[in-house]
Amino acid sequence: MLKSFLAFSLCITCMGGVYAAETEREPFDDRYCTTCHGADGRGNEGVQAPRLAGMEPWYLRRQLENFRADRRGVHPQDREGIAMRPMATKLSDESIDDIIDWVGSWEYVPAEATIEGGDPARGRGLYGGCAVCHGDSAQGNESLGAPALAGQNDWYLVTQLKNFMAGYRGAHPDDTYGAQMRTMVNTLRNEAGIINVVSYINTLSR
């Protein structure tokens, strides 16, 4: 035992300390989404990270690429986006592929409604403009690049709509879909409109 230990030590010395140290280093990968986005990517209100389970792969890819390319999460008032962007900055194309596969393995379970004080009937009227792209049941439409809204965490939808309205999201010149949303969100007029339309989306299911 002692002999083999000595032999091993000598071997390390031959190779030089650096290599020996490298081999002992703790490995990591890029599958860290669930720390923020919750178990099986079902979202976590505690850190305001939305649900990923059930998110369309093409939409997820576009957002990861937007974050990686500084097209999203750069406005100083976009608190959640600012938290997300550095997570995506160092992702390789392979890591993004892997994350999309991983997210696809999670079961979709619609989020619980949490917001209060909205008027779904008024929201329904406001939703007409949204339905053109996002679909009557808020099920999303890939050909128009519009993600599903039904089943998403309502607090997240509210934050994002506010961000679009205030120009915290969608202002980057290369964010074409974001620019569309910035135009469309004005039909909701104000925060009450946002709450109402999200209350209505809460009544829809995919």
């Binding site: 300390g17 140290a21 002992e24 280093r25 703790e26 990591f28 860290y32 669930t34 720390t35 923020c36 986005h37 919750g38 178990a39 099986d40 079902r42 979202g43 976590n44 209100e45 505690g46 850190v47 990270a49 600012i82 938290a83 962007r85 550095p86 997570m87 995506a88 900055t89 160092k90």
Partner: protein, 522 residues
């Protein structure tokens, strides 16, 4: 707008002080004040044939405390730890260690020597944290003095003397002198017939003179307390120049400097020799085999007679069934894990805000501060890096590890930066005190707790309002402290009224175990 204090108001203040003294006596008689006591050792009933399986979620110090104590009396404990290491926010960084900050993962490149470590999380143990200290004693953890305040360290503020760093002792000696002079003038300005007796008035004046090092005319004209400009040993000492009171008043830092020796950071503070994670090691020597690393909890279901926990490890899902569960997963992460907790419990979890403490460290190529009469302690800067800590250990060795920045209150400024931007910020801030800093340090690490994997915060913030706990906040806190069905306990410093201290985590664990034990005895 300034407001003059009238003599009447001043005397009212003094008489209010007399009232406090009276209240102290009364409080002591009623047993309201803490009296000296040893840490209570746990007196737990030995585990029976049933109710002996315990799941512990998180290998932070509260979870380890539970594992250690319950194992002693025969419980079968399993600890699920989501990260690759034990200790949680007890995180000592050494050569080769992974700093698992999401978006800023890096390895520590410090030289591989015992004194070359950095306590990126817990770093100080107040001597009154007796429960933690009792474990240190029981687990044979070597402790040494942690130097917090150092009178030769620096104070630097662009508003003070054009940004020229001054020694802490210059700031405090002169400030005290001028404060004492003002106080002495107020006291001498009128009759001292009330509220004090002649004897009390004389004692008070003596204290004031001594506090400020006043001369026989009750004036402050500088003091050797600030050290010597020259001489002082083989030759007569030459007094340093006074810094004018008006100049001292240009900085707000006096609030920090004049209270540095009070409260949690008052002397004596201790640290574990070789790094704070020696405490973690003390526990894991006994219960380390119970830890399943890289095990992320997916759901917690409290049942009538136990708790079911599903978790992911090695790419597959596992089920852990236990009779009791002690859970120190941070509240803001627990809200993202499926559970069947009662609504008030969930409300409490959601209510707690996560702190965003930030720390950074450099390896110093030489211990340049020791050449500047500094041994341990903190230099304070009025800039975002805020503090430089000189190591209390490794004195007179070649190199050392410096804390380059510590923002406990709001670390978001540096958190939002890239690793490289943070380092440049600390170099640029630090060289305002140590002009050659940039060339004297290397091998930086930065730790934004708000983004540390499996943690995402440091530490729990219950109070929305600095003035104190609201009734509603206290109700939520009490609700979270109580077990669900007598089976599931939230623990950790987050379930205390004094977060960010190891002692709070230990006491929270002890409270929960005592409660479980009481229920089993009933």
């Amino acid at each position: 707008m300034s407001k003059q204090v009238t003599r009447r108001e001043f005397l009212n203040l003094l008489s209010a002080a007399g009232g406090t003294a009276a209240a102290l006596k009364a409080g002591s008689a009623l047993g309201l004040l803490p009296h000296t006591a040893q840490a209570a050792s746990m007196d737990l009933l030995a585990a029976g044939a049933a109710n002996r399986k315990v799941a512990i979620l998180g290998a932070g110090i509260s979870g380890l405390t539970v594992a250690y104590e319950l194992s002693k009396v025969g419980y079968e404990c399993t600890i699920l730890e989501s990260s690759h290491r034990p200790g949680g926010r007890i995180f000592t960084v050494r050569h080769g260690d992974l700093i698992d900050e999401i978006g800023n993962r890096h390895y520590c490149e410090f030289d591989d020597e015992p004194h070359m470590y950095f306590n990126a999380g817990a770093a100080r143990i107040p001597s009154t944290h007796r429960n933690l200290l009792a474990y240190c004693k029981e687990l044979n953890i070597d402790l040494e003095i942690f130097i917090n305040e150092n009178k030769t360290s620096y104070v630097q503020d662009p508003a003070l003397l054009g940004g020229k760093p001054i020694r802490n002792i210059d700031y405090t000696t002169h400030s005290r002198g001028f404060l004492a002079e003002l106080l002495a003038k107020s006291l001498n300005a009128g009759e001292m017939d009330q509220p004090f007796t002649d004897q009390e008035a004389e004692t008070l004046m003596g204290m004031v003179r001594s506090f400020g090092s006043l001369d026989e005319d009750d004036l402050y004209k500088g003091s050797f307390r600030a050290g010597y400009a020259a001489g002082g040993f083989l030759e007569h000492g030459v007094q340093k120049d006074i810094i004018a009171f008006r100049d001292l008043l240009q900085t707000q830092m006096g609030r920090q400097l004049l209270s540095a020796n009070e409260g949690d950071t008052g002397p004596i503070l201790l640290q574990a020799v070789g790094g704070m994670d020696k405490i973690t090691e003390g526990f894991t020597k006994h219960v380390g085999h119970q830890i399943r690393y890289r095990s992320m909890v997916n759901s917690v279901e409290v049942k009538e007679d136990g708790v079911d926990i599903s978790y992911d490890q090695d790419g597959s899902r596992h089920l852990l069934q236990a009779d009791f569960c002690f859970n120190c997963i941070p509240s803001h992460l627990m809200t993202g894990i499926s559970n069947n907790f009662p609504s008030q419990y969930v409300d409490a979890l959601k209510y707690i805000r996560r702190g965003n403490a930030y720390k950074a460290a450099f390896q110093a190529k030489e211990r340049f501060w020791e050449k500047d009469d500094i041994y341990g302690g903190i230099s304070w800067m009025n800039n975002p890096s805020n503090q430089i800590w000189y190591p209390s250990s490794g004195i007179h060795k070649e190199k050392g590890i410096l804390l380059a920045a510590y923002d406990f209150g709001d670390g978001s400024f540096h958190t939002a930066m890239t690793h490289e931007e943070r380092i440049e910020a600390h170099l640029s801030d630090g060289e305002k005190i140590h002009p050659n800093y940039r060339n004297q340090v290397e091998k930086p690490i930065t730790v934004a707790w708000h983004r540390m994997n499996h943690m995402l915060g440091c530490s729990a913030r219950w109070q929305r309002n600095p003035s104190g706990w609201t009734h509603e906040e206290e109700e939520l806190y009490r609700a979270l402290q109580q077990p669900v069905n007598g089976r599931h306990y939230m623990i950790g410093d987050q379930v205390s009224m004094h977060s960010a201290w190891q002692e709070s985590a230990v006491m929270s664990a002890q409270w929960a175990m005592t409660d479980m034990d009481r229920r089993l005895r009933a």
